[in-house]
């Protein structure tokens, strides 16, 4: 640092002025810099979630969608769309999709490698009359549990209620034996509830 040069024994008062002028110059030069910061693109944000149910009998679908239109990470009621209703007795193949803007979050951040799969676990819950299991072609975690991206749902009697989805990150213990799944802890990337109907 050039300031050290001024430490010579013979430092004179005049050097104070030199320093002061330097300081003013420094401040003045800083005044002029108006480098505009770059916006940060949130890399790990989930801005869109789609859970699509396809009826095995007639390929009709029910979709639960959340799209963070205003990008505030908040699940606003207006951002949740439920299209279609479930038929009693219908068997549905369900698959979840997660997106960060136009990136496929599910593919890039979870399914890209085994470590990504092992670090995650979907837990579903419903107040409707459903039975559910994880699909045979669902992703397998190293601990033997299925991730829960692909699931099979069987609708029971008619009613209105909710379906909720949780995505757990690095849960110390998970269990898929109920189909819906359970996980220890509450470190969630997703925790959302939709209204739905079987009619």
């Amino acid at each position: 640092m050039k300031i050290n040069l001024l430490n010579s024994k013979t430092m004179k008062t005049i050097k104070f002025y030199a320093m002061a002028i330097m300081a003013i110059a420094m401040l003045a030069s800083c005044d002029n810099d108006d480098d505009t910061p770059a916006p940060v693109e949130e890399e790990e944000a989930i801005t869109k979630l789609v859970l699509t149910f396809t009826n095995q009998a007639d390929n009709s679908t029910v979709t639960l969608t959340w799209n963070d239109d205003n990008e505030d990470e908040v699940v606003d009621v207006t951002e949740q769309i439920v299209a279609g209703t479930f038929a009693p007795g219908g068997v549905y193949d369900a698959e979840i999709g997660l997106f960060n803007e136009d990136e496929d979050f599910l593919d890039e951040d979870i399914l890209a490698d085994q470590a990504g799969i092992d670090a995650h676990f979907f837990v579903y819950a419903t107040t409707l009359n459903f039975t559910m299991m994880r699909a045979s072609d669902d992703e397998d975690r190293t601990d033997g549990n299925k991730l829960g991206v692909k699931t099979v749902w069987t609708a029971g009697t008619a009613g209105t209620g909710t379906i909720s989805i949780e995505l757990h990150h690095e849960s110390p213990s998970v269990d898929d034996s109920t189909g819906f799944g359970t996980a220890a802890g509450d470190d969630t990337d997703i925790d959302i509830t939709f209204n739905a109907e079987i009619q």
Binding site: A23, D33, E43, E44, W66, D109, I192
Partner: protein, 800 residues
């Protein structure tokens, strides 16, 4: 028995002397560092109130002594005044080693006893180097708790921030060798970047009385000074090695000082500390390892007329944050509070994984001073600091190794201080300061900025004066003006910008509109006045009283203005407010101190009224459902608050070998507008210890210490909340303070002479002897795990 008989015999013979008082004591005063005799040392025989001085050979003698105890106070220019007790049994001889102690040269003529205070009428306490050495393996915040009224707010046991009279962070100003530390101190998880091993003496000033350092120290000032120099040809230093059972920690620290009679000096110091996962009473605290490296060096020349110093210090800390404290939502917080055990308990490891923080701090300064005849002293300083903070979070897709927070703060300061002391009864100090600060938040993190980029400009000027009104009455007064401008560039989400009404109130700040975001240019100026007025009355040699009024003003910090995002470990969204203005404190304090031959006692009281007090509270917006789960919103607001407290310190010498000490601090703090207690106020805490010393057993010293923290029963219960969960029971989040706890600690030490000029100090201690499980209200990880369990420590200190 023999003695009694003698008295009887003497009385029978009608001799007036009640005992034989013909003994002679010969003392030899020697420089501890080079073994040379010290001539001209003053010896005050306190018990007889007589004086003598040492001769050219460093020797002195006292005649006509009776058997029994005498107290000697030995002082010598350039040395620390020493008080010793000597048992006279017949004629006796004793060597007395004096420790180097360099007074600031210009003060030599004024004071020469022991530690030097920086203020006259403020509530100031000093922690001497001997005490600091005991904290070699710990942190600055731990050492500061030696002062009654000073506690700490912790994140785990390695991130320790001092609290002075209930206040911390931006309200506590820390000076490292004359440089005001600029290390993003606004963050509650940002510990001061100072290596305790680089400190030679620490002074804690409660309140803002020390105006030369700044006008915004509403809580207080911590002045950390390096080991002092002496104008003498000498070389000395020490090396400390220590190990501890809890966390399997170890620490090595060394320093070396070279001084010359000509005034030249050089000093270098380095330390390295490491520990793995700590243990609570019943389980491992997974991922609480830490690693710290510190280095500092200084050199310069100290002459009466002029001098200079160049100083550089560096510290690098990598600190793991308890794995279980990384939580995903308010649900996890509620579950953690109610859980008997943390979620993640793994086997011991030295590995520091995410979440963790890595902070480095460089400080460089250069000072020059000159004395002018019939005026006083002028000194000039330039300093530069670079604080770089990385925080690593648990991320996915290999991103964990990429910092989630990457903030760099650079500070340049120029200051000029003048001291007019040609009339010792009317001293004046004045000074000017210019500071420029550049804060850069790296966008490569892939996470929205927590604190925006900003430039900050400060300008300050002060004048203080110190008057000796009467022999026993000293008064001081001061006035200070500070200007500060903060010029930020910040992205707001359009939704947030509108929700907070900024689009109506500050439309001119928007410089660019992006999809869903606006880039804004908030620039704010703050003008602040601070002042102090105090008086000290020395009633007599044993008693004094102090009275002080201080006005302090503090401009809002970047976090209070700009915070805007999720604070993971607190499980809340924190929102700053651009409308926040400076807060202003009026603090009235009084102290009484008594210092006698057996008893030392200090009582300090204060009342601090803070208008526009800035703090964070749960927002009326309540809990918002984020995609990752529900989170409450907390926002910074301003209110009027008051603090009242009493700090007590007492030391009593039962016998020359046995001492008892008592320290306690009581504090009450309220939000005046809402009439609710303030959050995070230390509960009543009392420390009591008993110490046994025996100089004849290699300076053996042992003590047993009790630490008793009461339950804080003044808590803003409105801050607890209930989270409604769809289709499930509501979750109650109870943030109320934990129960009271009582801990016992043990310490012992001996000092063995090794060679002619060196000695070895061995210290063994046990913290939390009974392995008590407890949680500390002011540890932010109390929601997730117990505090530390038992810890055995062994420290070897080699002085040379």
């Amino acid at each position: 028995m023999k003695h009694n008989l003698l008295i009887v015999v003497l009385c029978l013979f009608g001799i007036t002397h009640s005992q034989n008082c013909k003994h002679t004591f010969i003392g030899e005063v020697i420089d501890f560092h080079d073994g040379n005799p010290l001539s001209g040392a003053t010896i005050h025989i306190q018990s007889l109130d007589k004086f003598t001085t040492t001769g050219i050979n460093g020797k002195f003698s006292i005649n006509n002594l009776c058997n029994g105890k005498i107290v000697l106070v030995i002082s010598h220019i350039g040395c620390e005044t020493k008080r010793i007790e000597v048992d006279i049994i017949g004629d006796s001889y004793q060597k007395i080693l004096m420790e180097h102690h360099t007074e600031e040269l210009d003060e030599v003529s004024v004071t020469s006893n022991g530690a030097k205070k920086t203020t006259v009428t403020a509530q100031e306490s000093i922690i001497k180097s001997k005490i600091l050495l005991q904290y070699s393996s710990q942190s600055l915040g731990d050492a500061l708790r030696e002062v009654p009224g000073v506690s700490s707010i912790n994140t785990g046991s390695t991130i320790v921030k001092p609290i002075i009279n209930g206040m911390h962070s931006s309200r506590v100003l820390i000076l490292n060798n004359g440089v005001r530390l600029q290390d993003q101190e606004w963050g509650i998880e940002h510990a001061p970047n100072i290596d305790i091993n680089s400190a030679g003496q620490i002074s804690v000033i409660k309140g803002s009385g020390a105006l030369a350092y700044g006008g915004d120290a509403i809580g207080g000032v911590v002045v950390v000074n390096p080991i002092r120099n002496i104008r003498k040809d000498t070389l000395y230093g020490h090396t400390i090695l220590s190990g501890q059972s809890n966390g399997r920690g170890y620490n090595v620290s060394s320093n070396l000082n070279k001084n010359y009679k000509s005034g030249w000096f050089a000093q270098a110091q380095g330390s390295y500390k490491r520990n793995g996962d700590f243990m609570a009473a019943d389980y491992n605290l997974t991922n609480t390892g830490a690693e710290s490296t510190g280095f500092s060096a200084r050199f310069g020349k100290n002459k009466f007329e002029s001098g200079f110093e160049a100083f550089y210090s560096y510290i690098d800390n990598e600190i793991g944050i308890l794995r279980s404290a990384h939580i995903g939502s308010i649900k996890s917080l509620a579950n953690s509070i109610n859980a008997a055990r943390p979620l993640f308990v793994e086997d011991f490891s030295y590995k520091i994984s995410e979440p963790k923080q890595k902070v480095s701090h460089h400080l460089a300064k250069t000072t020059y001073y000159k004395r002018f005849k019939n005026f006083g002293k002028l000194d000039f300083q330039y300093d530069y600091q670079n604080n770089h903070r990385f925080e690593f979070d648990i991320r996915r897709g290999g991103r964990s190794s990429k910092a989630a927070i990457d903030l760099e703060l650079q500070t340049h300061t120029l200051s000029l201080n003048a001291k007019k002391d040609n009339n010792l009864d009317r001293k004046y100090n004045f000074g000017l300061l210019v500071r420029y600060q550049d804060h850069f938040a790296n966008p490569d993190t892939g996470v929205r900025r927590l604190i925006p980029d900003y430039d900050k400009y400060d300008f300050g000027g002060y004048i203080t004066t110190e008057w000796r009104i009467h022999n026993n009455v000293l008064a001081d007064a001061g006035l200070r003006y500070d200007f500060s401008r903060i010029d930020a560039k910040k992205f707001y989400r359009t939704a947030t910008w509108e929700e907070r009404g900024y689009d109506v109130e500050f439309p001119e700040l928007v410089i660019e509109e992006l999809r869903n975001q606006v880039l804004t240019d908030p620039t704010f100026d703050y003008h602040n006045i601070s002042g102090a007025l105090g008086i000290r009355y020395n009633i007599n040699a044993n008693n004094y009283i102090l009275g002080n009024y201080a006005l302090a003003s503090r401009a809002p910090n970047p976090s209070e203005l700009f915070s805007d995002g999720l604070h993971h470990s607190a499980a809340r969204i924190e929102v700053g407010d651009l409308r926040i203005d400076s807060e202003r404190s009026h603090r009235i304090s009084t102290s009484y101190a008594y210092s006698g031959s057996k008893l030392d006692f200090q009582l300090e009281t204060y009342y601090n009224q803070i208008n526009n007090f800035i703090y964070i509270v749960p927002s009326p917006l309540g809990i918002v459902p984020l995609i990752r789960g529900p989170f409450p919103i907390w926002e910074y607001v301003q209110t009027d608050a008051w603090f009242f407290g009493i700090d007590v310190n007492a030391n009593y010498e039962i016998t020359p070998s046995w001492d008892v000490n008592h320290k306690s601090a009581f504090i009450k703090a309220y939000d005046k507008q809402d009439d609710i207690p303030l959050i995070d106020i230390p509960p009543f805490t009392t420390y009591n210890s008993i110490t046994y010393t025996n100089a004849r057993w290699s300076n053996f010293k042992t003590s047993l210490r009790s630490e008793w923290a009461f339950e804080q029963n003044e808590f803003p219960l409105d801050f607890n909340y209930t989270v409604p969960i769809a289709d499930e029971d509501d979750i109650d989040v109870d943030l109320s303070p934990p129960l009271a706890y009582h801990l016992m600690h043990f310490q012992s030490e001996i000092t063995l002479p090794l060679f002619k000029k060196s000695s070895l100090n061995i210290r063994f201690s046990v913290d939390n002897i009974f392995n008590t499980s407890y949680r500390n209200y002011l540890n932010r990880l109390r929601f997730f795990a117990d505090d530390l369990g038992r810890n055995f420590r062994l420290q070897l200190q080699l002085n040379y």
